[in-house]
Symmetry: C2
Subunit: 496 residues, 2 copies
């Protein structure tokens, strides 16, 4: 076996254990009874340490060096590059650190589920202090090993090649233009208020509707499933994608568009390059790219008038509403799914105000990492920014304030910005898809996503991690990523 083949075999083994970890992680969120948590945390930590130890195996450096003298295909070369980055990223952490972090994060996530439900900041604060403390240590080690800034070193885990200074440049026009745009849209929408849809929607019917929309979008149920969890996510592995949602009996749109969102993620996973599934090069290019796929489905395609025309009759059928009920007309349902409001919860936010939720978190987590903000001061800092950006107080309202997201309790710092990168990418990609295939919206109106999906397969999914985000965007849309398509989309959808 030559060095490249050795590397592939080694990463197949790593991929096997990541498979096991992904399924057990899904189980922890979607299936596990609370009493199983302590033993599970320990078990997951042991698995993570094993995976970590395999990723930092000193043989990898030797194989990587030997690969320089081999003639490799472009995909093999790209695979080596991803392995090189992953190896460098892992090698700066000790096994003991990985174990301590996994255990801290799992205990903290488990506590978060309880504390959030009880709006109890005091019980989550010590967990968060421990997790943020470990994240600071991690950032210092990563920054040192990668020659990066503290925050950049964390960001690189989710969005390789992007720095905080690039984010500042991209986010600045959003931070400036979105507040007045939000005002204008809210004033505009006040002219045609939504009719209410009712306040009780059977969970079983919601689930059936969600499953049928997943099928419409092209989800392959032979390689995945839908369940429920506290915090919706797309987990599992490419061969077995695990989506979750959560149901509110008073609002079916929340879960439905959540399912569409997660299905966008799932289509990316199910579309990864088939011959490379065990290798790092087949992985999603970045979390921003991943989010572009979920937001393209949820925001660009899913909330389009075309899709609402298709789905409205199915919504009426699911909940036994009459065809001539004005609240259940395409127009009113479209207004329902494009209503803009300043509100507390990021995951329920409309696409106009969403970036401000992200920028708020981005600013706070940068301060957490550089030490200028303590966890103890976090609720107050959150409340201040919510007041500044949204005019909303979260004083004492931890549940809908600083405790609403699982990310920080889960140790994910540097992740939030990828949501807005994804929104920008989604707008630019969807625009390019429609330009290249002008029949896209007519197809969506009939529930036919095959054209759109094959464009995404070709320009995004099948490329894996074999290109940079810049290259992917330029190949697919003719331009690197900017805020133009996104802002144009908002103006066109909400003010024209």
């Amino acid at each position: 076996m030559n060095a490249y083949k050795e590397l592939e075999a080694h990463y197949q083994k790593i991929d096997d254990l990541r498979h096991i970890g992904a399924i057990t992680g899904w189980d922890e969120s979607a299936m596990m009874p609370a009493g199983g948590g302590a033993a599970r945390s320990r078990a997951m930590a042991t698995l993570n340490v094993l995976v970590h130890d395999l990723t930092v195996d000193p043989q990898i450096s030797d194989w990587l060096m030997a690969c320089e003298n081999l003639e490799l295909s472009p995909m093999q070369t790209a695979n080596v590059a991803v392995i090189q980055r992953e190896h460098r990223q892992a090698a700066c952490l000790t096994s003991d650190f990985v174990r301590a972090q996994t255990e801290a994060v799992m205990a903290s996530e488990q506590q978060w589920r309880i504390s959030r439900a009880e709006n109890d900041w005091a019980t989550i604060q010590p967990h968060l202090e421990r997790v943020v403390g470990l994240a600071r240590e991690e950032a210092a080690m990563r920054a040192d090993a990668g020659g990066l800034g503290l925050y950049d070193a964390m960001l690189e885990l989710y969005e390789p090649g992007v720095t905080a200074s690039q984010l500042d440049t991209l986010f600045e026009p959003l931070k400036t233009s979105l507040p007045p745009l939000t005002d204008a849209i809210i004033a505009h929408q006040a002219n045609t208020p939504c009719l209410p849809l009712g306040d009780h929607f059977e969970v079983a019917a919601q689930r059936e509707l969600g499953l049928s929309v997943m099928k419409t979008l092209g989800f392959d149920f032979n390689h995945g499933r839908l369940d429920t969890s506290h915090h919706p996510f797309c987990g599992g592995v490419a061969e077995d994608v695990r989506l979750t949602t959560r149901y509110s009996e008073t609002d079916f749109l929340q879960s439905l568009f959540g399912v569409i969102h997660e299905t966008g993620h799932a289509m990316y996973e199910q579309g990864r390059p088939k011959d490379w599934l065990t290798q790092p090069v087949s992985q999603a290019l970045s979390m921003g790219t991943h989010e572009s796929q979920s937001l393209l489905m949820e925001m660009q395609a899913g909330r389009s008038p075309a899709f609402m025309t298709f789905i409205a009759p199915k919504m009426r059928a699911a909940f036994g509403r009459a065809e001539d009920d004005p609240a259940w007309s395409v127009d009113n349902l479209y207004r329902q799914v494009t209503t803009v409001r300043r509100d507390f919860i990021r995951v329920d936010a409309d696409e106009v105000t969403y970036p401000l939720h992200v920028i708020l978190r981005y600013e706070l987590e940068k301060a957490l990492i550089d030490g200028s903000l303590t966890v103890a001061d976090l609720p107050e800092a959150w409340h201040q920014k919510m007041t500044d950006y949204f005019g909303l107080s979260t004083a004492g309202n931890y549940k809908n304030g600083v405790m609403q997201d699982v990310h920080w309790p889960a140790g994910l710092i540097g992740y939030f910005p990828t949501y807005t990168l994804g929104a920008l990418m989604a707008a630019q990609l969807f625009e390019a898809a429609k330009t290249s295939q002008p029949e896209t919206l007519q197809q969506i109106e009939t529930g036919d996503f095959t054209g759109l999906l094959s464009w995404l397969r070709q320009h995004v999914h099948n490329r894996g991690s074999a290109v940079s985000v810049d290259q992917l965007m330029t190949d697919a849309t003719g331009l690197p990523l900017t805020t133009d398509a996104f802002l144009t989309h908002l103006h066109r959808r909400y003010l024209d």
Copy 2:
């Protein structure tokens, strides 16, 4: 750290990975879509090889030797003994063999689900040939390492200390006495035929009834859950026990008593010695002991007139039946759950004919292992024995014949006899519990299982693997295991 502490730390790590494997295994049976099977098999094989490599780590021998000079507590001494046996059992297999076997077994199990549904022997035969071939290799290696006979070496995995010749001695009186006993009971029951219960029972109502009975028996839902699978089982880990059942819309008793059975297993797992959960000494003593706990709940307690008195009103409520409906009286329901018939399916068999199902499999698998029977000849051999022992032909009826059980496709050879050992133990243990706590049946009649459970906790569950089966039975019942209590129970329940 002294050698004993090293050993404990090492086995804690092994236990962590077994935890991960147990949850992923449960997922494979209860949750995984079929398309995830190939990748899952590979992933599970990698995990199994890792666990195997840890179990055969050469340091273990050194630590075990060093332990001989340490002063250990009785539980520590017992823990060392179990580790010694496990290490010896694992050390005779290579990693390559473990990988090949795991992959073969998982492919075969996955094919079995399809083939059985289609009554298609041809598609499972090659898988079974591969799995049985590997089992023969395994038996040869184990026999060699343990100084045991081929079949005894496989049996030792599930029932340490028991040999085929001991089984022959225990099974002989059953093989002789059960056929005439069955005839007598069937004739006796013909005098009072059962009234039919109806032929449609909502799955949701069945599930609710099952959950409520689990609660009655003492199942801790903070440490476990109930789901569905093709073949019901009790999996997961002590801290998070995963029960499964399957529902038939035409027969709710099948699932209900299946749930009671699996809950018996679960109570054993949830009752393992708390301070020793990460160590082998806390494991179930043997599969026969495990089965004694499920059968004690299902057959001894569950099908008693006392429990039927308690559960009959709940059954009527679950399915909306009137209190004075004669089919739903305690007497008729009791007759329903104690009806004896010669039938095809082992898992649905009554307790009188069940041992003959086991003996049939025991005889066939011994012949498979010693090479006197080929997989190709298995359907015919099955048909012959079914004709001899039950007067039933399974010619062409693979689904309800040789393909009905997952055990052989799953590579489990030497497992079946433990079902009947369990039945014998259950009868003897229940008799002892009632003698020691004469109020047991009155308590069960009110749905109070706490007395029985605490007796089982003390005499079985909390002992873990710290004693031999003989010792456990003698301590709990005053006698080693015999067939007496079981045969007495059958005569008393079915002919008096």
